[in-house]
């Protein structure tokens, strides 16, 4: 930063606010992340609990769950993503306006969880869309979701507006839409988006 932290505090004591556009911009964004109002399975119950009075997600500026993807900034994948549901989830993600973030909540959303070896559950939503924060747990406690939310806020705070590390919405070349998988005869086609999720190589 151009302004020294100590100097900034000193100036603040004298009633002078010094900031940068980037700081101001990120401060505004991180304190008004509106999640999309949708739940997929039991993790959604914990997500609802997080928004209620005891855990009170409104403290972090995320009290408004928007029922439309056009008005939402954050997608909380709360629960099992079945293969039948996966195209709709990707489509909703595509419909969200930039900047947009994804929290994969719970064992199922990050990897398929207990249904990993089954036939009808997607083995992690990160196969199709980029995920910012993964939370393990079955289901994760509301504190874990808050922790993930704070992690996301820190991530937003650290974003630079220019340069190589700039977020996708400031990068014209970044991929905006992700291919929606199609229902195949035996599985979703493709079974993962190659640009998003490389098939892991086991090293032995």
């Amino acid at each position: 930063m151009a302004v020294d932290e100590k100097l900034k505090i000193e100036l603040g004591k004298q009633g002078i606010l010094v900031t940068t556009l980037q700081e101001l911009y990120n401060w505004g964004r991180r304190n008004s992340v509106w999640p999309m109002q949708f739940g997929l399975a039991c993790c959604a119950i914990e997500m609802i609990a997080t928004t209620m009075a005891r855990y009170d997600m409104a403290r972090f500026g995320a009290e408004v769950f928007r029922p439309s993807p056009r008005q939402a900034d954050l997608m909380i994948i709360s629960g099992t993503v079945t293969k039948k549901m996966a195209p709709q989830v990707v489509r909703l993600y595509n419909q969200m306006a930039e900047p947009k973030y994804v929290i994969a909540m719970g064992a199922c959303a990050i990897s398929g969880g207990p249904f990993k070896q089954g036939y009808n559950v997607l083995k992690g939503i990160d196969r199709y869309i980029p995920v910012d924060v993964h939370i393990p747990g079955c289901p994760p406690r509301p504190e874990a979701l808050l922790q993930a939310f704070i992690t996301l806020q820190k991530k937003i705070d650290d974003q630079r507006l220019t340069g190589e590390q700039r977020p996708p919405h400031l990068d014209e070349k970044a991929q905006g839409e992700f291919p929606v998988p199609k229902y195949g005869e035996h599985d979703l086609e493709p079974s993962s988006n190659p640009g998003v999720w490389p098939v892991p190589i086991t090293i032995r």
Binding site: K83, Q117, Y119, K123, Y183, E185
Partner: protein, 232 residues
């Protein structure tokens, strides 16, 4: 409540021509079930629901079972006549030989219904129906016209086992999508190979992982360096 045998004879008295078999259950619960023939199943179901004494008005559960082709090996004692020299004279002698015979019992799909009576507070009565085989004769009569609660569960059986219920008002897949071709709960179902195998796979998963790697190596060519010994 009537015993299974009493229900069987009541059905046979009420629905002429109905073939009802008792499928015994050897467990301590002893919930024997009634095996209905597909032709008379709807009439039998209607009788069970409407009969004043049984009044089975509630279908709590409908499910499917997949029975694979079974090879049965049995030892049979066969008596045959052979010629044998006894006391210097050749004469036919009967001899008993034990033979091992193998035959294949064809597999079938089975729909199982659990019935209770809300009015009489008794149950369950277990009904079964079996298809002709597992491939082309997979039709069974739907019991949805008798018990409305069978509708979604029969759709699920259709989806996962592939039993076609004739007379069902809305027979579509319910869990998988419409273009899906397989029936995942059948025992010979092979799921798509899209699994990320962890380094410490074991048992069934290990076998699948090895098959997966072999297939990948086959597609990658002979240049792959992993040896079969390194799989463990």
């Amino acid at each position: 409540m009537k015993s299974v045998e009493e229900i069987q004879s009541a059905i046979q008295a009420a629905v002429p021509g109905a073939q009802v078999e008792i499928v015994p259950n050897g467990s301590p619960s002893g919930q024997h079930s009634l095996l209905l023939d597909a032709q008379h199943a709807v009439a039998v179901a209607k009788f069970l629901r409407d009969d004043g004494e049984l009044e089975l008005d509630y279908l709590s559960n409908a499910t499917g079972v997949d029975w694979l082709d079974k090879e049965i090996t049995e030892k049979v004692k066969v008596t045959r006549t052979i010629t044998k020299t006894v006391d210097g004279v050749e004469q036919p002698v009967e001899e008993t030989v034990e033979e091992t015979r193998k035959h294949v019992q064809p597999g079938y799909l089975e729909a199982v219904y659990h019935l209770y009576s809300m009015a009489k507070k008794h149950g369950p009565v277990v009904l079964r129906m079996r298809t002709g085989n597992r491939t082309d004769q997979v039709e069974l009569p739907s019991l949805t016209p008798i018990w409305r609660s069978a509708e979604l569960q029969e759709r699920e059986i259709f989806d996962l086992f592939g039993i076609i219920f004739t007379g069902h008002p809305d027979l579509r897949r319910i869990l998988m999508w419409d273009g899906f071709k397989d029936h995942p709960m059948r025992r010979d179902y092979v799921e798509p190979d899209d699994f990320e195998y962890e380094p410490t796979a074991h048992d069934e998963v290990l076998a699948r992982a090895q098959a997966h790697r072999a297939a990948q190596q086959g597609s990658a060519g002979a240049g792959a360096q992993t040896t079969a010994g390194a799989e463990r």
